[in-house]
Symmetry: D2
Subunit: 325 residues, 4 copies
Amino acid sequence: MRSYKSIAVLTSGGDSPGMNPAIRGVVRTALHHGIKVYGVQRGYSGLINGDIHLLSSKGVSNIVQKGGTFLKSARCSEFHQANIRAIAANHLRKLGIEALIVIGGDGSLTGAHLFEEETGLPVIGIPGTIDNDIFGTDDTIGFDTAVNTALGAIDKIRDTADSHERYFLVEVMGRSSGFLAIHVGIAAGAEMIVVPEFAVDIEAISLQLATSKRKGLGSSGIIVVAEGNSPGLTNRLAEQLTHHGHTPYVSILGHIQRGGHPSGHDRVLASCLGAKALEYLLAGYSDMMVGINQGQVVNVPLDNLTRYRKGLDPELLKIALQLHK
Amino acid sequence: MRSYKSIAVLTSGGDSPGMNPAIRGVVRTALHHGIKVYGVQRGYSGLINGDIHLLSSKGVSNIVQKGGTFLKSARCSEFHQANIRAIAANHLRKLGIEALIVIGGDGSLTGAHLFEEETGLPVIGIPGTIDNDIFGTDDTIGFDTAVNTALGAIDKIRDTADSHERYFLVEVMGRSSGFLAIHVGIAAGAEMIVVPEFAVDIEAISLQLATSKRKGLGSSGIIVVAEGNSPGLTNRLAEQLTHHGHTPYVSILGHIQRGGHPSGHDRVLASCLGAKALEYLLAGYSDMMVGINQGQVVNVPLDNLTRYRKGLDPELLKIALQLHK
Amino acid sequence: MRSYKSIAVLTSGGDSPGMNPAIRGVVRTALHHGIKVYGVQRGYSGLINGDIHLLSSKGVSNIVQKGGTFLKSARCSEFHQANIRAIAANHLRKLGIEALIVIGGDGSLTGAHLFEEETGLPVIGIPGTIDNDIFGTDDTIGFDTAVNTALGAIDKIRDTADSHERYFLVEVMGRSSGFLAIHVGIAAGAEMIVVPEFAVDIEAISLQLATSKRKGLGSSGIIVVAEGNSPGLTNRLAEQLTHHGHTPYVSILGHIQRGGHPSGHDRVLASCLGAKALEYLLAGYSDMMVGINQGQVVNVPLDNLTRYRKGLDPELLKIALQLHK
Amino acid sequence: MRSYKSIAVLTSGGDSPGMNPAIRGVVRTALHHGIKVYGVQRGYSGLINGDIHLLSSKGVSNIVQKGGTFLKSARCSEFHQANIRAIAANHLRKLGIEALIVIGGDGSLTGAHLFEEETGLPVIGIPGTIDNDIFGTDDTIGFDTAVNTALGAIDKIRDTADSHERYFLVEVMGRSSGFLAIHVGIAAGAEMIVVPEFAVDIEAISLQLATSKRKGLGSSGIIVVAEGNSPGLTNRLAEQLTHHGHTPYVSILGHIQRGGHPSGHDRVLASCLGAKALEYLLAGYSDMMVGINQGQVVNVPLDNLTRYRKGLDPELLKIALQLHK
């Protein structure tokens, strides 16, 4: 057990829906334990500039349903430098702040680990990213909402696909991982799912489309494509398929996937992880992230995040392959 | 391992969003294994009347996103009689059907258990209900969608609550259990949550509203109420609070909670449970339900459903209490 | 032409989606013309209590998409007294406010007329109500959003209606007028529409349901019912239909119809009416409401509102009758 | 007055939400008058291939809420040839079909005009396009839904814009006209709106962004851009603004704008236009389109569509300019 008088919370990196209820979970749980909570504006930028303000219970009222983050967020390359991190720690110390809660993705949480390692200020991470690509946790805040947003878009696209009897290549986010693509693909009843973890085989895709048509299984459908690392992948796939005699349409979902009211699942997840982050802190833990493993909240050492890489669930892959027509 | 040539699938009881992708999961996985699948219309009614038709892969195309159940559903009191269940079994045998998949809630799955016990026809259950009140599984198909539907309604109601500075009592489904109310309440940032598992204390609610107002924490908000067993609970609560000097508005969400496009979570859950039901059947299991425990698909003996009662998660209760203002 | 230095704006009565963009339209247009704008809190209550604050351009940023009204609203029975209205006028005069824009429904705009008549302070009304029951204008702010909200609910209810092969009586708002019911009914493809303008004929409804079933046109569907003046109408209808051998379900949509993000149509309408209210004021008009007639913004003398009653469009009634199956 | 025994209906060109209720309006009104209705599959392609089937009242049940068109649609370049149009007319005559209702955009209705001119078969057009760019009508089926869909996306994008304090360039459809962009821009509270009708002035946009920032009016917001005639416009604008020291994000909404459940407005509009098309036909009219002018249904000679070009509403342009901060 450890006692704290003042802590701070920030959101960092790409915003994800549910960051607001996570902040609220941290603030209200801390106040419940008699701890003051400061909010840092604009992620690590605000930490460096000392843009740090006291938060109240009422101040986090009526935010649970809002997308984005009311503390603002930013990507901050300066924070990659150790001397800058030292300046940031001083801002916190001057205000009597004894610990920091960081809500963000892989990169932000790695920064948090270095920050504690160098400055000794206890840090707890909360996984907030629509990509769900953080090692050690089955779920991240914003992932469920992003799946639903992508599905809402695909449900609209399907109207045109059916009316015009065309295939659509729908690009979802996911530079190095296909978590979003797999979930969206299964939930959308997609004919195919292209993920960065596997090489794309245009011949195989083309053959499957042709077979589907020949069998009378229809000539319209959805192919979900994770954006991958090289921009323009989906448009290139469309061109290649056109060379093979198909004429798919393309839809790039883009930034709408980051926003919107958080889903019920993400609001409950964020509330729980926010509350649990505080409990771990009070129990004496730090340099860790709260995560979900086998349906339970667990603690994940922050340095695991850089050491290991999360893989796709082979069970889901199998189901995705079995369920298309 | 066991081999099957023909099986049947039905949906029974109150419909829930995700029943369609569950049917699709069963049908496509069965066809993948070379097994014929029949669809029974209107739950056990169709079983009794022999309203049973062969399903194809294409026949379950483009249903993954649709609410309700394309096989129709019904509550069927006749099926409570053993002699009627024997007639139903004969209809299946005449068509060469060797096993039955039942998608539904508590009552429907209990009927499924009796059906196998008496007739020897293997049965696998899939939990489909928005109430999430089935013992042995942490999740049921339709629950996540219902949470999101209720939240969508509350997000609208909050506009009026804020504009008129009033409290709203919002009634969600849940006759004997508060699972939906707890999740909706946490996700909505509700000031209070009333569930059937605990006695309602009007004095305490009234005191809390008064304290909130006195502290300047605002005089508007949401109180989520599970409908409970005696109709009219929420209106009675409103009257009592009015006697205590508050003047809350009331909104009964009602049937909209059962319908709508299934959420991404429910579509993936339904697809997985549909596929897994088949795998368990082929592995030689029966008289069981596929469920979710600690994030994994598990098998739950059907007779457990009547023997045990699922309780609210104490961790969620604690978080709900800590997070209101 | 007349020149003004300071004006005020308020929202009164039941809130409706689009009141926020209407306020924004008033404020930004006034500032564009170099006029200061004050916001009155809680409708006429704030006018009586002097709860009046200066608004800025930035202060109305980012509200265009929000339901409800950020100025708050209230029903205010005190304002029915002439001496109270005189007090309210003094509050405005003390602040140098020379005119008042009132956004609200029938009752609120009638109060506005009396206010100008007695105090000489110029008033312009903007019709804001989900009921669309204001004489002199074909459209009111919030009506289109309410139609869409009701349809969203009915689209969910239809899943259960179809799955269980039942009729649903769906109650929408409308105490004395059936505008919302007619639009929702046509748009929902309802089998029947019950409005306060016509007596309910249970025999006729029952006969039509029976005929529909006999002809094989299905035994499920939606009947839209305007709530009417005597509470409980829809439940009574359901009981009567049950006596006639039908067993419809009931869904009362209630308060969700008032809230939610305003639709595109309502945001554009509100922006235009807000801007036009200012232009009429500057052109020397007052004691009038801006309204929509034949697709154009028109001015409607406020005392017409009490003198005449708006009727249902006979053309829409005819179409509603022809289009059901 | 003229009497018909059999007519046909088709949907052509890009699909738009509300085509289904328009078909339903045509079919049910025709049946009400004792006229048989045939549905032509895939627009003019189905007319050429004789893919024409009888429709029933029940066959158009439960489609009012569905996006796309259940008759399918297609762009058909063959129909530009007069000899092909003659073949199409013969298919209709062989089935005893005496008139044709065409639901579609500018190009499709121009084809309809030629078809009647050459073959003598009476044709009535119904304007169905999300672009609202058809001369002679203030409104087209699908426009209102597309506005709402774009707004739904922008409401999500705004979460990220606010959280990251960035401007977003949001591209909406509109190759040669800015109707969608203007409506979406006003309704979204956009800072700027770029339309094909006016040259883009990057210097002016850049200056306005800088001024806004300098005045403390915020450094985030939405700029709505109509796609225009040369692909890649929005990305080029983003590059140019980046050269001027701004770093906007880009979101291309794309195909989601064509799909989705039609809005209430579009369902009522489609139902009315479908019904009115029949009434005009029975009143002896043809070679015309039913349109909306000053809030009324009017008839527009089809050859006007090619002769005149619809312009942006100057009143809306003025309001758009006045209302940004």
